[in-house]
Symmetry: C2
Subunit: 893 residues, 2 copies
Amino acid sequence: MTLLYPLDAALDRDLRLRLLGTKAAGLHEMVALGIPVPPGFTITTEVGAEFRKTGKWPDTLAPELDCALEQIEQRLGRRFGDRANPLLISVRSGAQVSMPGMMDTILNVGLNDSTLGGLASRHGNEWFALDAYRRLIQMYATVVRNIGIDRFQFRLTALKTKLGRPRMPDSELSIESMQELVAAYLSLTEEASGSPFPQDPDTQLWDSIAAVFKSWGNARAVRYRRMQGIEEAIGTACTIQAMVFGNTGMTSGSGVVFTRNPSNGDKHLYGEYLPNAQGEDVVAGLQTPVPLTASATAPGKEATSLEQSSPEAFAAVSGYCEALERHFGDMQDIEFTIEDGTAYILQTRVAKRTARAAVRIAVDMVREQVLSKEQALVRVDASSLEQLLQARLPSERELASRGVVPAATGLPASPGAASGRIVFDADEAVRSAAEGKDVILVRQETSAEDIHGMKVAKGVFTSAGGMTSHAAVVARGLGKCCVVGCGGLRIDFERRTVHLSDRAEPLQEGDLLTLDGSTGKVYAGALDLVASATVDELAELMAWADETRRMRVYAEADTPQAARAALSYGAEGVGLCRTERMFFAPDRLFAMQCALLAVEAEQRSHWLGELERAQCDDFVEIFEAMNGRPVTIRLLDRALQELMPEDERSLRAIADALDREIEEVAQAAARHRESNPAFGHRGVRAGLTVPGLYDMQLRAMLRAAHRCTERRTAVTLEVLVPMVAFTSEVVALRAVLDRAQAQVFKRPTTLFKCRFGTMMELPRACLIADELAQHTDFFSFGGNDLTQTVLGASRDDANRFLPGYRNELGLIASDPFTVLDPQVIELIRIALERARGLRPGLLAGLCGDHGGSPDSIEACERLGLDFVCAPLSQLPGARLAAAQARIRQNSGC
Amino acid sequence: MTLLYPLDAALDRDLRLRLLGTKAAGLHEMVALGIPVPPGFTITTEVGAEFRKTGKWPDTLAPELDCALEQIEQRLGRRFGDRANPLLISVRSGAQVSMPGMMDTILNVGLNDSTLGGLASRHGNEWFALDAYRRLIQMYATVVRNIGIDRFQFRLTALKTKLGRPRMPDSELSIESMQELVAAYLSLTEEASGSPFPQDPDTQLWDSIAAVFKSWGNARAVRYRRMQGIEEAIGTACTIQAMVFGNTGMTSGSGVVFTRNPSNGDKHLYGEYLPNAQGEDVVAGLQTPVPLTASATAPGKEATSLEQSSPEAFAAVSGYCEALERHFGDMQDIEFTIEDGTAYILQTRVAKRTARAAVRIAVDMVREQVLSKEQALVRVDASSLEQLLQARLPSERELASRGVVPAATGLPASPGAASGRIVFDADEAVRSAAEGKDVILVRQETSAEDIHGMKVAKGVFTSAGGMTSHAAVVARGLGKCCVVGCGGLRIDFERRTVHLSDRAEPLQEGDLLTLDGSTGKVYAGALDLVASATVDELAELMAWADETRRMRVYAEADTPQAARAALSYGAEGVGLCRTERMFFAPDRLFAMQCALLAVEAEQRSHWLGELERAQCDDFVEIFEAMNGRPVTIRLLDRALQELMPEDERSLRAIADALDREIEEVAQAAARHRESNPAFGHRGVRAGLTVPGLYDMQLRAMLRAAHRCTERRTAVTLEVLVPMVAFTSEVVALRAVLDRAQAQVFKRPTTLFKCRFGTMMELPRACLIADELAQHTDFFSFGGNDLTQTVLGASRDDANRFLPGYRNELGLIASDPFTVLDPQVIELIRIALERARGLRPGLLAGLCGDHGGSPDSIEACERLGLDFVCAPLSQLPGARLAAAQARIRQNSGC
């Protein structure tokens, strides 16, 4: 019984999916529900695998198939190959994982010169029968015989040209022309393949089955699977099903219906119907369909809805929709055909929807008691919630339909969208913004000197740099949309023009430009933005998520503004405040440069003192915003070379400030240059070897905390040490912290809690986690740097080979800088095992860009981490993902 | 019994070392052997630790000490503090690990105004007694009271000046002057410390003991321990011993004797003797000692040897020497004193010796049946053997004694030493060398264009670059000495001058310069080199090592010359042939650049074809040299950016060759620039994403192997894939190899063996070692890159913080790029456990710079690796280290 499976038998669900594929499995479920589905059966994936391996059919297949076909014949009272009342069948592919359009299907099998008449007379429609025949010939020839489809299109156009109307619709061809077309197709098939179209229905059938199974291995499908990371071994099943026809006349038709509105989630049927047409005509979009429901009919339009024209058929479809949605517990996307007034459901599947609709529907279905809260929570794609928070452009497809195409593409560095006037420098940005203009700052790259311009710009666009460039980092911190690394972009600062690409005309300063920071697309001119949808149900869904999840969700926030935004997005604390970003402002950068380049201890402490005051003020504001919630501050972690001055003016200013020669300062700055700065003198290494640097930061934190507690504001400070490789580093710093704490807090206070944590971002730290656990209050695993070091791949450079690995070569399934690599997870597991073996309750979590990715959050749940720390815009998604992970973990899947 | 320990009691050896320190433990052993040692006892390290912690003495110490002192008094018939026949004692420090000169010792304790006369009359020498007294006062004052020693020297000089002979030897001071000096020292002590010199012998004694224990914690000792990685907790012991005097007259004296010649290992006593002097006078070197033996007396010199002047005393010393060497089974460095004709041994320790002497002595002692072969093997410092292979400079100390000091210091990039005339470019180097001149090529940094100059130069010296810079890599490959990264070096190409440092005068082109590539020191002028010593016994020692070791020892060799040298140094195969170094020659670099920058597939294959031919020829020569032994060839592993053209001329040539615009080529080349090239587009990542690159290399290897086997030369090819992170990379490449092999070797041949191996140099590879083991014949762990990734520290940049970590901060004990880091070892252990869990016999070894380090080789033995691969010059050392590791492993220590 593994060979064939009739559409009305019971079978375990998992086995069904594996043996029959998703689509056929759906058909089986519908049959079980009593939904009218054309009768049929499925040849299992195992037969296909065997056939692809050996080139032979199992001996038992033919008799089983005959037997199954006979059952269909009996149910419908038609016979396969019968002249008078022929049974026509479809031969369809379908795998466990949906691969839309990638594999082949052949319809109308069983039709030939002699059964043609029987079909025509059964439906009283000769044109329809000829149309079905020519479709079969074309599908058979292209799929089984590999003849190019353009050769058939050429014959069709030739015929229409001969008739004097090269662009006439197919439906206006006469019976005679259709006969001529069938003859032309038959002779083309024979000419092109050296063998005539098989008139024998059995030959048609077996050829089609073989072709469907083989289509698993066609180049298109293989490439698709590689890109999607679909397992190669599974294979497709082959479903054989009686044909039903929507094109037998005006009491027939085909349609597609969503059980709810996929755009906003409203609960009403939403779909289209095409009278006297097959399903593929609806999909092809050559004719304009009518609405499904009367209420959806646009006022004043002539088109009559299905509800109005065929109330009974509509009522039937409507009932099936309700039954299917209730059965599957989710909004369905349903294909149906009405043949001579009788409705058949051909396919049902879970409907795609916008993030907004997904939230709405999930919450509604709980209210309707279709779903439990837990089911509703896992129903929403956590990563899609980010869309709900930002102004955005219409979808690319929508723009394309209006003829709007991108003029250039860069890296999507900071999400959101913005339109504005082009400016080429920060000062001009400030001037224009002051006049009330929206501006887009266009630069080769940005530096500390551009910050005032970035602050007032609506968006930032650079030709150089990557996802971690200055522009990208600062823009994300400011919540500005940003596109970077657009190679085609050439800026002519002399002429104040910019070329977006070689082809396009240059734009002038002041011209309008639109950026999509979520996709990296750039458009000439201003485009209307779609407002960020407010979804009332989101708050409710989030409340359920917060009740459900075990892990805490913290935010990345480097500024008081970001801290406040984090609270509004539901963060329970700041999990990562990167102090290095506090040195981007020009005056602070200058002080930092002076401190780093000072030769005399006195000078160094002077400039460190300046920085301490500034940092202290920042921390006070953040502590106040978080009001006693944990604030995790990471000590400076930036390659020193990135803090060095580059231009003459900065060098001169520093030389003046330090009373040194400019050449000396330039040489000292140059000595900080590194071959591989991401793996060089940064983090705790710089903090311990540059005298006073970390001491200054620790004092600033403690003094800020002290100032707050004096005003009765509670503070929970978590100090985080970056780039730890040796236990001795942690011991040395803890001593500095303890000393500074005793100095600043002369009297103990219950308002202040201080914890000391280690960034676990190097393999060495993970391997000595047991040692580190003895000197540390918590661990924060750094996804970015762990990925860099475990893979030995610099994030800034990995784009040279990772895309090729994923796409052309199919060597990896996902980008390890987006989804935590399994071996990074393994190393975290080893670290936790070692550390918790010694200190069972040790707090640990994940920070970095992976902290917002649902897959990574799921891994964190499995690892038993206590918290994740996500970027601002991904906080709601992270809260949801943490709940989903908990639900899956509890259910053991 | 843990408080005191008399010098004649038995005790377990380990406990003895821990409680008594090395030096006192040696005294105990000598007493047990019947060697005359001045009687005494030791206060254990535990008492010292307790005292340092609490500041108090254990209650039982004083009575125990009195009792022990009494035993000495009885043995010698003298009493501590007795006016007539006073016992004088020394109070000495001594820890388990020798820390020469770091801690304090006080001699002559027990002498005071009233015992002075007893001492003088006992030895009939008043001057001597006064001398002993002034020494005690000075030592007590400087050690116990922290008075600066210069203040005593000032008083002494003042006295001599008053006498009109400011430079007179101390020995010529009159009795009266000595009395005046003692008085001056006594008053100085009281003035400077506010308290008189203690006349009470007990006070002297207890103050001295306390000072000795406290000296464990003095800044000098702490710093020394930090640098040597000595454990802080152990502490020093304190030995109290009766004084014997070598300065009581001409029948007394002090000497130092080595039981063999420490320079060449000859078996004869080797030492110096100073009549009428204390041991410290010999060490201080103020007076010229006489030889020990008659045969060592230089002909025509007046000095009479000890053997001649005191034959009985010499015979006694000579006998003790023989007994001690035999007892300890090793050459000894012995201090002795002759007091009134009686010889006492004060100290014996294992003697330091040159590498040459070490080999000679080890082999001789086996012949003399003092040592077993295994004992002899562990006796020689494996890392010292490298010295035996190269011409070298005299030691720095030796040079300094001649007034020769380095003019600059860079990084020691390639060992050996060379003198020659300065040239500033490769062409000039070739011209001068053709005239028969030795030249040193001095450059800012080198590139492919300099190779012809490097080949003819005696040495290479650059201001930029690190240990892996072009200059360093090429020089090591060529076996040239090289110093790089000399920051102080400034070259003025206009004036053809070079400043070695800010202080020194500039040198002109043509001036002489000497490089020491083993230390990084650079000297102005030409220095005479010490020829590489040929040691006859080395071959025998190596033969024993080869019999003993379990691990195979392979060589790093990138050229046929290097392969032949490797054989002569005893390599069993080539463990690492780096193909990237084959592209340094200008014509090949050009072909590689054309291949990488070609747009059309046809052009690319043309240039790859050129490279294939060239590589094939190289491989043939290497295979022939190794004649069937394994040759492990690593596929290209170099950041593509390092292969890109930089100057206009190269760009133009490439543009012409590819028929492209020069700007296009420049842009294409610039696109290969990376932020962190060591972690970027290199190794298998480049090999798989640059079409045809690895295919070309694999074909070249196979065709070379084929050509050899056709000529009946056996070939064992081991292909090594660098930078593997994913199993899919290995699977993809193995398929390419299998395909190419089938194409090249149409018929199978027993002359050809091919194995496929993975470089294990990324943490990810180690974690998936079980998966990789299924697709791979062997593993080669790459120490350099594993260290980089486990520590997250780029080797080129780590020097910015590792020296500070080791020295000033004391955070780490050794340089992880020299000695395998414990966590790198742990990751290798994990990888082996996973891989061999699945494939128990999987071959695995270590390559990279650690492969030559004895510590790392010992780790490899413990890990159960099958081979190590060492740089050429370290091959003998590696063979010895592998044997030593095996011996230690077998003996379970």
